[in-house]
């Protein structure tokens, strides 16, 4: 017998190996099935479309922070835009600073357009979709991102 020959195995140990093997395979499958449960099939969550009021309420050149909704609404000569105030690093709420936004948790800094200028944030602050509903009120959809620079004209 050369060293490369597989060791001989008798019927009894083959059968016990096989039964042990199938036992653990079944156990593994059952465990995997069990771990499937905590992974939610639907993600419950509040609707994140926010009515912010009639456009006239916001003067050109103004900015309004909506803390509860987690966004800041801007109006300039070209129109409206909304920037999310949830930090793209680890989800703290950023505050306005002299040159843009600053995050209290890990020191990320963003400029007035939401681009990262310092700290660990991996992405710019998202710009959010602005639109209007039937009665003319402005609506921001915090779940829908638009490219930076997008304005909504009224």
């Amino acid at each position: 017998m050369s060293r490369l020959d597989p060791p001989r195995i008798n019927r009894r140990s083959f059968l016990s190996l096989a039964s042990m093997g199938s036992f653990f395979a079944a156990l593994g499958t059952a465990a995997a099935g069990m771990f499937r449960l905590p992974n939610p099939a639907v993600l419950p969550g509040p609707v994140r479309r926010f009515k912010l009021g009639p456009p006239e309420q916001f003067a050109a050149g103004s900015e309004t922070a909506f803390a509860e909704q987690g966004l800041v609404l801007f109006r300039d000569d070209e129109g409206f835009y909304a920037i999310s105030s949830t930090c793209t690093h680890l989800g703290c709420t950023v505050a306005r600073s002299q040159d843009g936004f600053a995050c209290p948790c890990h020191g990320s800094r963003f400029d007035n357009e939401g681009s990262v200028i310092g700290g660990p944030a991996p992405r710019p602050l998202p710009w959010l979709e602005v639109s209007r509903v039937a009665n003319g009120d402005l609506v921001v959809n915090a779940d829908s991102e638009v490219p930076e620079g997008t304005r909504y004209r009224v």
Partner: protein, 513 residues
């Protein structure tokens, strides 16, 4: 003369206290002979995890400093006070905060119990870390104790997980924002998958976050998950592993200690004691059932004493010391409770519990690298120690092999200088993003102060490996670097980080906001 049944009954009634006592305590009195002392140990469920005789080195307080036992004691304290807190605590986002407030301000002794729970939990984290350090520096992880080192690491991870899950339960501002940050750290592999653009197909970060929160945001689903983990799953896992840990200590032949010399006389405690000498003509084979290089009978039994009562005195004193310390702390210092959780306004600065602040500092360079990659590297590195450093020697002795102490101090100073230098540099000059805002995120994930520290420490350890030609010394240098880095980062983030994670010399300089 035959006893009547009535007489027998009356007799049994008269001797009732005695016979109940005899049934409960088989010995029924303080043991007087060695035989009775050994019975006292192995007839008792709680004592019989100890061997009947214990080595004098094991009893020496400076071998272990009782740290493992302190961890056990503080865990028992959290267990008892935790059950008491459960009586009033309600795991619902509407009620949780109010119920903690009730416990703190209205429930009789509620505040004290809550404080004990908090202090014992913190104490446990500290002593578990110290215990790990003592096991490392006494080289007690070496064969055959590799497995118990792994079990211990499992205990460390569970201990930290227990602290983290407990942090959410009060549902105050601290809790809410710590969990927001924590769950986003779980989400942070996205930083990497986003950077290379594969998140759509492969999103482990999102999966972990969903598993933790049960939703996209921190709310009721998250609270109930953390509650179940905190009061049931993790304690059960910890108790189970603890059982294995203790069992293995016994099976590995008690605490690690240097071999007693064979035969002749041995120095111990300034005395020369005779050591048992095995006879060449006799077999002691049966004893070989017990694991070890040699059957224990070959070692000098003269260096052991009866466990009863000295070991139990020692253990009881450590236990009482832990309880007393915790009670005093709990009496004088209250557990914090901030305002009700408010999703709109974070605490500023929003700091994690202090033992996670080192990680928070790393996270402020890169969420993925600092929050996940480096901790995983550290845990895997720790787990590998006993399998990479396999040469016997130095077991059960502080800095037991040649030049260990020197390497420890060199590495200590080296790590101190490098970590402090790195922090000073980052505070003064910022990092890649400050110099070039448009840099690709991948660069920041790979090259940041945290990852650089890991690389420098690894390099230092390789240098020691080459220079000193010893795996143990390389391990000592790396472990020391890790310890110093961890402590310094934790200190730095605790004291020198203020609002917006800016650097301040002292908290008193924080701007009023």
């Amino acid at each position: 003369m035959e006893e009547t049944a009535t007489q027998e009954f009356l007799h049994n009634l008269r001797t009732l206290p005695h016979s109940v006592k005899e049934a409960c305590f088989r010995l029924g009195k303080a043991p007087e002979s060695e035989r009775e002392e050994s019975q006292a140990t192995f007839h008792n469920l709680f004592l019989h995890i100890h061997s009947v005789r214990v080595h004098l080195r094991t009893l020496s307080p400076t071998l272990t400093f009782g740290l493992g036992l302190m961890a056990t004691a503080s865990f028992v304290l959290t267990l008892i006070t935790g059950v008491l807190l459960m009586v009033y605590y309600k795991p619902s986002t509407d009620l949780a905060y109010q119920s903690i407030k009730d416990i703190h301000f209205a429930v009789f002794t509620g505040r004290f119990i809550r404080n004990i729970h908090r202090w014992a939990a913190q104490f446990m984290v500290v002593v578990v870390l110290l215990h790990m350090a003592r096991v490392f520096f006494t080289a007690s992880y070496k064969k055959p104790r590799e497995f118990n080192w792994l079990v211990g690491l499992g205990l460390l991870v569970i201990t930290l997980a227990l602290s983290f899950t407990g942090y959410l339960l009060p549902w105050d501002q601290l809790a809410y924002w710590a969990i927001t940050i924590g769950s986003n750290i779980a989400n942070s592999p996205r930083e990497l998958t986003d950077a290379i653009g594969i998140t759509k197909y492969f999103d482990p970060g999102g999966f972990q976050k969903r598993l933790l929160l049960g939703a996209n945001y921190v709310g009721q689903d998250a609270l109930i998950r953390f509650y179940v983990l905190h009061v049931f799953v993790l304690p059960l896992a910890l108790v189970t592993l603890l059982g294995v840990h203790f069992w293995r200590i016994r099976k590995d032949g008690g605490l690690a200690k240097p071999e007693d010399p064979m035969g002749g006389l041995a120095e111990w405690g300034g005395e020369r004691r005779p050591v048992f000498e095995p006879l060449a003509t006799k077999t002691y084979g049966l004893m070989a059932l017990v694991k070890g290089q040699r059957p224990p009978v070959n070692r000098g039994p003269e260096n052991t004493v009866m466990s009863w009562p000295r070991l139990f005195w020692a253990e009881l004193s450590v236990f009482m010391l832990t309880v007393a310390t915790t009670l005093i702390l709990a009496f004088y210092s209250d557990a914090p409770l901030k305002e009700l959780a408010n999703a709109a306004i974070p605490e500023n600065p929003a700091k994690a519990p202090w033992y996670f602040l080192g990680i928070q500092e790393l996270v402020s360079y890169s969420a993925f690298t600092g929050g996940l990659l480096i901790p995983v590297i550290v845990v895997v590195g720790l787990a590998l120690i006993p399998f990479l450093d396999r040469r016997a020697g130095g077991e059960g002795t502080w800095f037991g092999t040649k030049s260990e102490r020197a390497v420890f101090w060199q590495s200590f100073l080296f790590a101190l200088a490098v970590t402090a230098g790195m922090l000073a540099f980052t505070v003064n000059y910022g990092w890649l993003r400050n110099w070039s805002p448009n840099i690709h995120q991948l660069w920041i994930i790979v090259i940041n102060p945290g990852s650089l520290l890991v690389v420098i420490f690894a390099g230092w350890s390789i240098l020691i490996l080459r220079r000193k030609n010893s795996v143990r010394l390389a391990a000592v240098s790396l472990f020391t670097c890790f310890l110093v880095g961890f402590i310094l980062l934790t200190y730095f983030a605790t004291v020198h980080r203020g609002p917006n994670w800016h650097f301040y010399w002292w908290p008193s300089q924080w701007p009023i906001h």
